[in-house]
Subunit: 422 residues, 2 copies
């Protein structure tokens, strides 16, 4: 059976509401007390230690050794799409309810299947480069209306290419890492000279991240098929943003310190293959993209995305946004094709942020900038407090999943709590 | 004697016009036919193979092993400023005319001193992140006058901070690497819809690059002294730019594909220490920078910078620009302090471009955009051809050096030749 077959069952019991059924098998990097970080796969409430499975001789990685006994997925990605596919199929087989190899090896199960609650999750990849796009039409329109008015909401280039910019790779962190409120130069329109201090308009951005698993050749472009094939998987991504720093610094070279202080990703990389059943056609593109950007495939995904905000005073989070990845105007494949169209070499471990994912409805807005309409419409939380932007102690969590028949393929959580500026 | 002492002499004869006297000792990565890339130091017309010197037991690296038998300088940089200093002093001693250890060991000299003309030079560092600044007031003013007129030449933020943006690290290449003309979306103002094709306004940008040799802690700022100490050295840098791609793509998130196709650096990293004697005060900064950006030190350098253009039809290059690094308004130290001011973690191997270095005079303009005044003033070359922007086959070479008494501390060449778009 294909690893995506809805009928597959594991010998490990998986709740239908779990993000990690046997149809998912996302990769992460974990450690337990006193052991080194290594690669594992999430299954139900457990983690399968792939370093242990590899060391047991149960995986055929074409002669490569020690691939999973490393603190990042990059060495595995370097083996290429055929190995990705074969390995996923093999892991699926090893976890099947009707396959004895691991199921009936009590010693190995003891060693290689760890309760997920007992492991520490690390950044799953070594981020080579981080690029952030701006590809939701609803988000770009909301921002445009706010700052330039309805008639000039979208910039002239927006409908012709996936607008993007280079981000900072060194500060990509895994879910659960505290995010310190950045300091920076602030100059609200009401004052004449800037001052330096803690950001007062700290925001999140709900995004997906593409993990690039294959490098390209400097000077060469990528076709749609090549771009598609070089995508290893996806993560949830929160592109934390300091709106006040951004407003003062970004002309004419774009956002810099307003973004580079932290970017949080989910610990689990869901493979492109696991998301195959959830492909959908994206929005119609009008005008038609230039030939190099045209796509034949249905390159969007039907993926539910929720954002919860929990204040330091309360246990219960409030749902502040709920949208879907399918709304993206420019697909991840188009972003990657565009990125390489000038001959830019793509590297194993490149991370491409989708850009804030908003939808057509008000509750589908993927940033506080949009939700509070640039601070002009503060909203109330269950504890009675009001928010326009994030306060110290606030915890922001993104969740995402695709719903199958009787199972869901999900990402777990992408969470960060705001620590006060020092 | 201090390794910067003008009286020092090597047992290797060095021409007074050479970039590589014993007072310099820049680091690079080289290989010879059939051998692996490793770290060396340039001295006169030779390269000292530091992997061989280390293997011979002549260097004390605090217990670290195989530091120079690697294809990048990063492992050495990780050892920190005290080791940088001690190692430079030791190499200086080994190369002195009055020190016998290497001078009188014919077998070692044979093995470890190679004619520079016989080695292949590689990218000297693994570039962790590439950030590009925009810190020459003359350059920013020229560009501003061109596009916004005299009265609004400088953006309101420019005098308050070193404006910068994240660049693309994967396409930083070493001098001598061919640069393929990028393709991209072009939409001159005269047409309504963009087309995709080879860039027609290909430019260079004369810059210096700072090589960061120490990492910082995420969430922390750097003081002026900490920033200073984390600078390992400098390279020449050409930030190739596709002006037409840039003009269409850059609003609102800044330059992206217009820059990321290639950035060329010189093969030799001149250490900060070797440049100490050439420190000068930069231009007065008015208004005074905010306290976090204020500097007490003379953080500019008196460094001559020349740009030569050679067309494919001629042997003799034409000097098209001649300026000095001392004109920079924001110093490299200020750039680094600003970069980390939001808590952004700096990494070993970060490369910071200074931004185009222009000067107050017309012949001191560091880009063709300025030299040809956006194409409105084409200039004539010795072969009778005219140029506004770069043509296929053009070779662009940057050279830079500081003049001491009887010697110069230089960088060699930062060269790239334009290959046609495919």
């Amino acid at each position: 059976m294909h690893p995506n077959d809805p009928a597959l069952r594991s010998f490990i019991t998986v709740d239908p509401a779990s993000d990690f059924p046997i149809q998912n098998l996302p990769y992460g990097v974990f450690s337990t007390s006193g052991t080194s970080p290594r690669v594992g796969v999430a299954i139900g409430d457990a983690v399968l230690d792939l370093a242990a499975i590899e060391a047991e001789g149960l995986l055929d990685l074409g002669g490569a050794k020690g691939i999973f006994a490393q603190p990042s997925i990059n060495a595995f990605m370097a083996l290429g799409p055929k190995v990705w596919s074969a390995t996923r199929e093999r892991i699926s087989t090893l976890l099947r309810h009707d396959h004895a190899e691991l199921r009936d090896n009590a010693a190995l199960r003891q060693r290689a299947l760890l309760p997920r609650k007992d492991v520490t999750l690390h950044l799953p990849l070594t981020v080579a480069g981080f690029t952030d796009f701006y590809s939701s039409k609803e988000h770009a329109t909301n921002v445009g209306v706010m700052f330039r008015g309805k008639d000039n909401a979208l910039q002239p280039n927006w409908l012709h290419m996936p607008i993007g910019y280079n981000g900072r790779a060194s500060t990509v962190v895994v879910s659960g890492t505290k995010v310190r409120r950045p300091r920076g130069q602030l100059k609200p329109p009401s004052v004449d000279v800037p001052s330096f201090g803690p950001c007062k308009r700290l925001d999140f951005e709900l995004e997906m991240g593409v993990v690039v698993g294959q490098s390209s050749t400097m000077g060469d472009m990528l076709t749609e098929a090549q771009a598609e094939e070089s995508i290893f998987g996806f993560v949830l991504l929160n592109d934390w943003s300091a709106r006040d720093i951004q407003q003062w610094e970004y002309v004419p070279l774009g956002p810099f310190l307003a973004k580079g202080f932290a970017t949080t990703i989910s610990p689990w990389i869901v493979t492109r293959e696991a998301l195959e059943p959830f492909r959908v056609q994206g929005p119609a593109q009008d005008p038609a993209p230039l030939p190099y950007l045209q796509q034949r495939g249905a390159n969007n995904y039907d993926m539910q995305l929720d954002v919860d905000l929990r204040t330091s005073g309360t246990a219960k989070p409030a749902r502040i946004a709920s949208t879907n990845f399918r709304y993206m105007y420019w697909s991840s494949v188009q972003q990657l094709v565009h990125h390489a169209s000038n001959g830019c070499m793509m590297s194993i471990g490149d991370l491409l942020g989708s850009g804030t994912i908003s939808g057509p409805e008000k509750e589908q807005r993927g940033s506080l900038l949009e939700i509070s309409w640039n601070g002009s419409e503060p909203f109330e939380l269950p504890d009675g407090s009001k928010r326009s932007f994030l306060e110290d102690g606030d915890s922001l969590a993104i969740r995402g999943w695709c719903q199958g028949k009787g199972y869901r393929v999900g990402f777990g959580e992408c969470e960060g709590t705001i620590a006060a500026a020092e």
